[in-house]
Symmetry: C2
Subunit: 238 residues, 2 copies
């Protein structure tokens, strides 16, 4: 039977087999949620970058550049990291270059060996689960975490996704038992529970509660985000 | 206010400040549970070793040597890793040299900087919490894990201990929010819940259910286990 595992931080990734697996990268606040908002609202592709400079350089090639530092849109950038900027379709058809430190690191560490690299967010949870159930490979859910540490929102999403993969998948990964159970016990009060999370508190300090609310909405989109070459693109699942 | 944090694996320890904190080392199946059983039943001290050879060498100095490989008492060793061997007081007054890979690694990584290194187990959960509440330092709970990965039993203990430290302690550590909640939701069915854990399954394959049952008993002992030099000794808390 197919297996699902959860790795709570890129710092533990060396302990997991990546080769031949479908890897789901999770960075709920806000990188992967913003990516799904962008893809669902028509952007042609998203190319992630670790640093501002490489990202900025893509403007000369016609990319819309998106990035923040310290909660503010970076100097000379058209967009910050808010998912809400994409919701009116203003960037439909555009290629986006986006900086996201934790998420990009996770993609870079896995793309050479993984069967597929997929991005995970609550906003397309069910679609991602359905997509993975339809494929033959094992799944590794890789939480981007926060500066290498476990974080609550990414791990809870991982538990939510793993829960949907049963019974077509099995596991012997303790992180799956823990996070699946934690999600199921708290799904009815996700906003309240995640309001405790250290990252949510940091975001609240920047007055972006609307972003948080968006990132915690389930199943808004019936498509998945998948890496092709260096670009994330949308694939319809229905 | 004093802070509590949980580190789910020694592989993530470099992300945490250890200096000046009380560090609680957890290896529920079975190292730290066995250590507490031994200390509570009168052994003079326990000196932990990573490898069989260093441990075996202590026999010449009059130590009782304890260690297992592949679920069997190691060649030439008097004891395996079962807590039950100590319960009749047969080793009272003896100095024990014990091999335990994950637990020893965690002790070695923290003892130089920590204010105190304490061992944690369900069998003396309340005593350890009371001890920490009575001290001024912040607390870092370090799970020994399984080959570097998150494991369920150590993380649940960490959540149980953290839960008892509130409200005298506070936290901004997401692992504390997660594991405290997971423990509180499953405390009424700890054996059932941990029966899913990968390590419990490995132990069941070795027919040591009695050891597992022992390791999951709460608050059997009113003393703590603390490192003094290279030796773990008991300290009464009442």
């Amino acid at each position: 039977m197919k297996k699902v595992e959860i790795c709570v931080s890129p710092e533990l990734l060396h302990l997991y087999e990546v080769s031949g697996k479908n890897v789901v990268i999770v960075d709920i606040f806000r990188a992967t949620s913003t990516m799904m908002a962008a893809l669902a609202n028509g952007v042609a592709s998203i190319t992630p970058f670790m640093d501002l400079e490489s990202c900025r350089a893509k403007a000369a090639e016609g990319y819309v550049i998106a990035g923040e530092r310290n909660g503010l849109t970076a100097d000379g950038f058209e967009l910050g990291n808010s998912p809400i900027a994409y919701l009116d379709g203003a960037y439909a058809g555009k290629k986006i270059a986006m900086t996201t430190t934790n998420g990009t690191l996770a993609i870079e560490k896995t793309k050479a060996e993984a069967a597929r690299v997929i991005i995970g967010a609550f906003v397309n949870l069910r679609a991602t689960a359905d997509f993975l159930i339809g494929l033959p490979e094992d799944v590794l859910i890789l939480c981007a975490g926060w500066k290498g540490k476990f974080n609550l929102e990414d791990s809870l999403y991982a538990g939510a996704l793993a829960a949907l993969l049963f019974p077509q998948f099995d596991t012997d990964c303790d992180t799956v038992f823990a996070m699946k159970n934690l999600y199921q016990d708290n799904a009815h009060r996700l906003n309240l529970f995640l309001g405790q999370a250290s990252h949510a508190k940091r975001l609240q300090n920047h007055n972006i509660e609307a972003d948080i609310d968006f990132c915690l909405q389930l199943n808004q989109y019936d498509l998945i985000g998948i890496l092709k070459g260096d670009e994330l693109i949308a694939e319809k699942t229905k």
